[in-house]
């Protein structure tokens, strides 16, 4: 009964949000457009950077940028689902949902289903564009499973972080509070050049930024040369676990306000 309640709530919330997403271009475009801009502008405009002395990524600059944009698209899938949560609170839908749901943790699981769907769609589109633009993936099937699993962990972390904020603040004005930290943590990493070629304060930030590990592992998978896989997955799992606690706290806060 209890498990059935959780599943039915999760499926209902997930189905509603997936439907809203695919029937509303205004929800599809922002999460997809920015990673595509970054991919086009930097894989196209900066490809010469791979001839900088010390640039040692064998799979080429398109693959190098793809590794970043894939994680970005996945994270945006999570964050933009956080926006949907905030919108549902603002419209009063979530208040009714909280009253009707027998297991409220199923609500977060439902949003997670929507976030995964968004991330998969974003990643599919980015991959198609990248392949058309000449992306060559040297990694085998196991590497690809590792790559996309890591991206989905990043997606889950971003969603849970965003949902914690959305459920605490319950307004669309919380958008920047969700987006800016994720934007910063993504960009304070070796985005355009390998870690060793970073200079100044971004090098220092990238040293302590967990995104650096995820980024290097994803690029390793693409190049067929797995790198820092265990540390990257360990950090991603720890962050996802901390984000679950953060999201549960948000849910409790929303329950108190409901």
């Amino acid at each position: 009964m209890s498990r059935g309640g959780f599943t039915s709530v999760a499926l209902a919330v997930g189905r509603r949000n997936v439907h809203n997403y695919f029937t509303n271009p205004a929800m599809i475009i922002p999460g997809l457009l920015f990673p595509l801009f970054f991919f086009t502008a930097f894989a196209g405009g900066l490809s010469r950077v791979d001839s900088v002395p010390g640039f040692d990524y064998a799979a080429g600059y398109t693959a190098f940028v793809y590794g970043f944009v894939l994680l970005q698209a996945s994270a945006f899938g999570g964050i933009f689902t956080g926006f949907s949560i905030a919108r549902d609170f603002e419209s009063g839908f979530s208040r009714r949902l909280m009253l009707a749901a027998p297991r409220r943790s199923g609500i977060i699981a439902g949003y997670w289903i929507a976030a995964v769907t968004r991330a998969l769609f974003n990643m599919l589109m980015i991959t198609v564009v990248a392949l058309v633009a000449g992306l060559e993936i040297a990694g085998g099937p196991v590497d690809l499973i590792g790559l996309y699993t890591l991206a989905l962990l990043v997606n889950a972390g971003a969603l849970l972080f965003g949902s914690g904020i959305a459920m605490r603040l319950r307004t669309m004005q919380a958008g920047p509070a969700m987006q800016v930290p994720v934007f910063l943590i993504l960009f304070l990493a070796p985005v355009w050049v390998p870690y060793d070629l970073l200079a100044g304060w971004v090098h220092a930030a990238a040293t302590v930024n967990p995104t650096t590990l995820a980024l290097e592992a994803s690029r390793g998978f693409i190049a067929g040369d797995p790198t820092k896989v265990l540390p990257a997955f360990a950090v991603a799992l720890v962050l996802a676990a901390v984000s679950i606690l953060w999201a549960r706290g948000g849910l409790r806060s929303a329950e108190r306000a409901a």
Partner: protein, 260 residues
């Protein structure tokens, strides 16, 4: 008498436009913060690109400084468009159309807010550039020219935002053009000089993209000194966009005021 009436009308609407812009931190803060964030991240992240043969300077910060001016100007489109669409949505333009206000006064007044924001942005980016060591090769007169070009670019993008707002009367439509303008910035010589762009399709887009020449005009004053060709192209592109956008906005305003 007529001239003084026009000046009075422009003055009142300009004051309203400037005050309204400064009363909205949500418009000013991102317009200053995001270009500076991108500048800070890119200048450290891409500093190694300066070791490419033919790169015009040994400081990527100096190279990237121009991006802040153009990216900041993109926010003018958003700011102007949002303000004008609010005037349409709240019926302010309807009420104005019942008064003897001249259209040119309304247009000039609205543009004052854009220029005020553009001036603050230009001075802030110049200040940050100088403080963090990007010397302006063309000196103080060059800095003044940078401010002038930056204002012209803000005017052009601001008019595009106002045009969309007047044509559609919708704040959402104004938000919708922001990614397109952002794409114009990204598909330019933003990250590397055009002669160092490897992909021919990207180089072709950058060659045809007026934003490349706006960037290169400002960049020339920062890195090279006085480069007549880069400045002429920069001012021609910025002025051309501003002129076209101004003409389109005037036409849209005529239609909007006639409808109301």
């Amino acid at each position: 008498m007529r001239r003084s009436t026009l000046a009075l009308q422009v003055g009142m609407l300009a004051r309203r436009s400037v005050v309204r812009t400064f009363r909205q931190p949500a418009m000013i803060v991102p317009a200053l913060l995001f270009p500076l964030m991108l500048l800070a991240i890119n200048s450290s992240g891409l500093d190694s690109a300066t070791s490419l043969p033919g790169f015009p300077t040994d400081s990527y910060f100096q190279f990237a400084l121009a991006i802040a001016f153009v990216q900041g100007a993109l926010f003018s489109a958003n700011s102007a468009g949002t303000n004008v669409s609010a005037d349409v949505e709240t019926g302010f333009l309807n009420r104005l159309s019942l008064t003897p206000l001249r259209r040119v006064a309304l247009l000039l007044g609205q543009l004052a807010g854009i220029l005020a924001l553009g001036l603050i942005q230009a001075l802030t980016f110049l200040g940050v550039g100088v403080v963090f060591g990007a010397g302006i090769e063309a000196g103080l007169p060059g800095a003044l020219v940078i401010v002038a070009m930056s204002l012209l670019i803000s005017l052009g993008f601001g008019c595009i935002g106002a045009f969309v707002a007047l044509r559609t009367g919708s704040g959402e439509a104004v938000q919708g053009i922001f990614p397109l303008l952002f794409a114009a910035l990204f598909l330019s010589s933003m990250a590397l000089p055009r002669n160092l762009i490897e992909n021919s399709w990207f180089q072709t887009i950058a060659d045809w993209n007026p934003v490349s020449y706006m960037l290169e005009g400002i960049r020339s004053l920062v890195i090279t000194g006085w480069d007549g060709e880069a400045l002429a192209l920069g001012f021609a592109c910025a002025g051309g966009v501003a002129l076209l956008a101004l003409a389109a906005t005037t036409s849209a305003l005529r239609t909007r005021m006639a409808r109301t």
